[in-house]
Symmetry: C2
Amino acid sequence: MLTQGVVAELRRALDPADVLLDRADLISYSIDGTWLEGRPDCVVMPRSAEQVAAVLRIANRERIPIVPRGGSTNLSGGTIPLGGGIVLNLAQLNRILEIDTGNLLAVVEPGVLTHDLDRAVRKHNLYYPPDPSSLKQSTIGGNVAENAGGLRCLKYGVTSKYVLGLQYVTATGQIGRAGGRVIKNVTGYQLDQLLVGSEGTLAVITEITLRLIPRPRHKRTATAIFPTLEGASGSVAEITREGIIPSALELMDQSSIRIVENVVRLGLPTDAEAILLVEVDGNHEGAMEDEMDRVAAILERNGASVQRAHDEAEGERLWAARRAVSPATARLKPNKLGEDVSVPRSAVPAMIRRCREIAAKYDLLMPVWGHAGDGNVHPNLLFDRRNPEEVERVQFAAAEIFEAAVSLGGTLSGEHGIGVLKREFLGLAVDPTTVGVMKTLKRALDPNNILNPGKIFPEGGDGNRRVPVHLALTGPGSGETVNTTSAPIR
Amino acid sequence: MLTQGVVAELRRALDPADVLLDRADLISYSIDGTWLEGRPDCVVMPRSAEQVAAVLRIANRERIPIVPRGGSTNLSGGTIPLGGGIVLNLAQLNRILEIDTGNLLAVVEPGVLTHDLDRAVRKHNLYYPPDPSSLKQSTIGGNVAENAGGLRCLKYGVTSKYVLGLQYVTATGQIGRAGGRVIKNVTGYQLDQLLVGSEGTLAVITEITLRLIPRPRHKRTATAIFPTLEGASGSVAEITREGIIPSALELMDQSSIRIVENVVRLGLPTDAEAILLVEVDGNHEGAMEDEMDRVAAILERNGASVQRAHDEAEGERLWAARRAVSPATARLKPNKLGEDVSVPRSAVPAMIRRCREIAAKYDLLMPVWGHAGDGNVHPNLLFDRRNPEEVERVQFAAAEIFEAAVSLGGTLSGEHGIGVLKREFLGLAVDPTTVGVMKTLKRALDPNNILNPGKIFPEGGDGNRRVPVHLALTGPGSGETVNTTSAPIR
């Protein structure tokens, strides 16, 4: 319980100004990138791992939920303090501690913005590839906690592939270090990798050692407009077969094209079924030119009209359509459920076809875009929360999207995390033994269930829902905050 | 206890011929790639995950240690049944179940030889890069359990970077699936990554889904002979600064050069202080040629005499010296302690200098070679186990090597694992909180401590040994099998 005595203790452990209790503060920390809401009882802003440890020792003793928070751009409700408790805002731990150009690594605190890290390493001709679309607002700590992806994962891999080591604080307030500064490390378990993607439920990350790579010197960009979706998917398969791994291979379906064109007027052909945006990068200009020649030939063979950028500015213009799609959706409907199912790459066309059928069945506006190269597909369900009948259709549609992804050999989430929005569906994608093992790990590392309780694991049943409840769970002022206070994980 | 009743139960659960009890069989399963020895009470050779699960249920009930085993090429005593029990030989689970060229992945059973997998995917112009030197004898299951590395990790990463998903059996005999078939997956914890490198202590792996990449079409190889070690290390730093990531960057020190030349007579200059072997690969021949031009210029600027291969056969000849070094050591002394400390790349020259000092201090023959690009250094302590005074010097030298690696920002093991040989040193490289967390994970997933007991965690004290005991621990017929029967992890 957050008694006056506990607040006083927190104020002694931290700078008193770093303990926030004002109503305005609590409200501003009650939201994330979704429409969910949950009011914390207190917000703390530690300035060191030791302060984080002190907060956790108090919270663990008092059984107070702790919700670690970075930029809170997440799209799964992962940083919503559903059951109240203490929001642990890591924004003040925001120093880039070291950029080691000889060993190609950086040591950073979790509150560093991803974009700021890449900007800092760029000066040394180095590159930190993971680039979630939120990179100007989201933090490295959040990226690590969600194992964030982005546009360049086919070639460069997700966040976990760049984590060499972590400093972390346990639920009981002990500080440890997992992994290290080396590329090869088999000294004990890969604890760093267990913490990556654990959504703040196993430990609090207070420092991150990240692998960097040399920044590619050259890139080539092209856009391909396809009369049919089959042409686009055929091209992706053929590019793969040719042994080409583009640094980006982005797809927009017809609905996305029309939404962008309606709002931004870039001159896109609204009768096209798909647009592919392809980028290749590397250190050798001739090799990049040759590779893009091969890609363009494949795209044209598959019926596309291809536009190649001749310089960086033109490349940026080609990216404009892809970048415009997500903001453009906001003009059409007030709310958006942005799913991020992940399927084997060859299943992307089937997944998009299923999305079309689902959109038609439930009469929903549902543009689909995504990372065609890595199989991460974003069906975006647009709706108005004030229309309960539409909300219900969205719920059924989302459930069918999850089922389709799993039946195609995929999974619920490629980069957004499970959080609250997908927790009741965990059992669709993960077998009961493995859910059991994951719960065992959670119980072992956080016996009092204080770390981000109510996230990842189903609370409503066996995690095998056919009819979702997630949209109804919470909302502004709904007060429906279900059972998430520090109750033991079953 | 392995009673007659339990043996009968095992015979019912498996094909009776797959339960081995003959003394000759037990002896042949009592060794690995080290000189350690430990006699199992029984060997079982399951043919399915269900059979593995049946064996584990029996073993867990009876508290019988289970030692999972692949090719048993490991160099840390990881598959030695120190406390008796059942060796779980996974050699019969050796099918390549699927090569999915569209999604660039393979599904294999753990008993598949690593070399056989790469040979199979090569037919499709695909590539499985991790290549431990044992790849013709070691299995994918063993590679995953040890998170094996090899020569190509700087550019391509270690085994864990290729694991997309696993089927596993828990200590209590339940079958589950972690990860999946997708590149981006944040649906629950990265349980697959926790199991990778866990040395058979957390679960038994029964199927592995591996990411593949397009096979590079071109490679260029060169050897550089340096009068001074500084020239070699300067070259490595400069290659990195230039943004070049070679597919191999191997170093041999003077002692290694002399040993090879004494035994194989390749015409190497025995007054050279170091040889670097550099390989670059990629899809564009001109780009590879340009890249090797830049590498050669760097090598020459740093004082090397450079020899470039003009075709694949010549490339193979350049590799001959590097390949000869490990076998050549066997001609000099009957025993070898092959360490595999891992340090940040920039610390490789300092690590090699420390090794020289340590070899001089203890008057030992200690060739050093290693993966200069990824920081994984192999000091090889040559000795004769029949000479107890020499054995003692080796023990002290090994301890100083570990201390040097850790003080340089590195760790105990880059690719061999901790197993038995390094367990008493775990605390040198891993802080007490993290050792505690790792033990907590072990207890949570294997409450009866049946899975490969006695491995990884210190048994002799706080894991902070200055004077090692590992060479004295066991040996042929020594009977010193310390406390490793299924006792609870403290």
